[in-house]
């Protein structure tokens, strides 16, 4: 069960890494793209930045939910659910 949690963790990590990598790549190599205003008059820099913060929270909740589903408690003696 520990390895299942670890696998879920790594998959979600890869998802976030791709999102973060995209942000850093755009900032460094396509700086002018960050100035475009694709939605509601907000520029891409603000949208993407807020998106990354929201994505972190969503992925964290997904991870917590998936790990809870397995009932895995690591080294827990009493359980905490």
């Amino acid at each position: 069960m520990e390895s299942r949690n670890a696998r879920i963790g790594l998959i979600l990590f890869a998802v976030y890494l791709a999102l973060y990598g995209g942000f850093v790549y755009l900032s460094a190599f396509q700086a002018e793209a960050m100035e475009s205003t694709p939605l509601a008059g907000l520029n891409l820099a603000v949208l993407y930045g807020f998106g990354l913060i929201i994505a972190a929270l969503v992925l964290a909740l997904v991870y917590g939910w998936l790990c809870r589903e397995t009932g895995s408690e690591g080294s827990s003696q009493e359980g905490d659910q």
Binding site: G9, N43, I53, Y63, G79, D80
Partner: protein, 654 residues
Amino acid sequence: MIYEASLVAVVIFFVFVGITLGISFYMGRKAQSSEGYFAAHGQIPWFVNGVAFAGDYLSAASFLGICGMIAFYGYDGFLYSIGFLAGWIVALFVVAEPMKRLGKFTFADALNAKFQSPGIKIAAGISTLAVSVFYLIPQMVGAGVLVQPLLGYDHWVGVVIVGAVVILIVVTAGMVSTTWVQFLKGSLLVFFSAILTVMILNRGFEVKEGGKDGYQFRTFGPFAAEQVVDWDNPTSLGPAIVQQPALAGGEWQLEETGKLKLPKFLLSNDVFWFLDVQADDEVYLRECQTAETRDGKTFVNGQELGSKASEDADPAQLHPIGYVSRLPGGQEKTGPLGPLGFFKTLQDSEVVLWKKTSSSQHPGVDIYVPTPTPGSQVLRPGEHPKFAGIRKPELLGKLNFLSLMLALFCGTASLPHILIRYYTVKDAAAARKSTIVGIASIGFFYVLTLYMGLGAMTSGAMDVTTSNMAAPLLARSISPFLFAAISAIAFTTVLGTVSGLILASAGAVTHDLLSNVMKVELTSAEQVRVAKIASVVVGAIAIVLGILFKGLNVGYLVGWAFSVAASANLPALVMLLFWKGTTKEGIIAAIIVGMVSSLGWILLSADTFKDVYGLPAEDALVPFSQPGIVTIPLGFLTLVVVSLLTKQKAATGV
């Protein structure tokens, strides 16, 4: 008036610090054993621990540094918010649960769980100390910065106060009380930041020509270039200038700009005027502010600080800054704005940012030049001089940026004072849950930083000489009570983070270094005593460094601490968890190489040359300032190579 001590602020401040210390003494009575002192008996509830993560993590750097950087340069400060939060993803998905399963007290315990090697403990102990001390510097600098406007003391007094109070907290209490302090402070920080953000949105934007003190900065122009200066004989004033009473009688300061020797500043009646040449050859003259130290006295805008030009004049000081110079559609005032309308409006506005510069003819004078900047530039990355590289074709500037973003991403999961918090809950599931609570609180706060920073940028209350004060000054521009509360929270923020760091260092000294290097067997009570002595020593070192590094933006300093942490600790941690071929020699080598290379890189970088040693930036020995992109892979490489070599040796040796 930028700084004047306020009685309400002082009272609220001391109430906060008093409550913090009270909790610390009260909770600390229960924690006399070693498990209690270092790991709170593993019995902190996961929700409390999660908010305490936020309390530990949202240090002076997040609050003062990020808000300040956004207030002075716009979006670039927010890059730190994004990177700091992203690091938590590494912590949660990769490190949290294995760390909890492997360790007991310290990061070194976890690394050493498989090998039982004194060498690993010593290397990890040293790197914990190095990272903690590096991370302590910005906290102490932040403390000094806070005390100045609040109580009217010098920077060093603030540093000493924080140092002394923290040493008292740590010596009397340990992990139980620091956790509760962090919980309290983390909740208050997020709560008051949310209130501040609501008030910023409610205030909206207003067009101004100066800051809160009502002083309006003057601008002359646009003039045709030939009206301003005789370009064949640039020392002569042009006809347009001679006619202005405020400018007549001045002299041009000739600067090497490009091929020609052309004027950059006009000095007239102690006022510097910046010659702002637009692309269409129109010229504006903009009134600057200056600060300099002569014979131990500070002079601002040509007058001695605090002196009066005439009987009924106000004492001389720098005028507060931070204002919108144009709103979309020629509006004068927007009224309340929504959370998205705030950015949309700013995007189409123009803000006056102030840039620090100098004149070769007036060495030692800091000249602050007003620079009207379109909102669309304020809201994009790359305006800060340290990030400007991403807007240039050269690869080195981009590498510097990539390097920082990598270090922020990898750094969180390698910070010793964050890692020890995994040992204060009872099991891996609780570690996971508290990390999720931590991510939620921290993420919410980081969203607020962009509002607070931009709110500060347009508050009319900024001190042109220091970006670190932006958040408290913003609060004061809204209400004195809020200012007192925010300053007190920021100060407890520093207290909390510093106690966490000192505790991590003390743990490293006691568990990792003393018992392995000196081979001393300590009883539980002796360990606590040694840890307390270590806390006092580390605290004293932090005080000295906090005074030395006064001039740097605290957010920037924290970026470096992240680089050192990520380079020294992350390769060992990750490879131990995911690569079976890792050997103890590999771990030791990776920690040492990562730590030494990243520290060395920082000490030899252009930023350190310029801001710490006072040497020319061009003399720096490394090509860019942020080490991460070189030293983190170097740590991984070292680990793999040394592990492969020592593995072979072990196999053939048997």
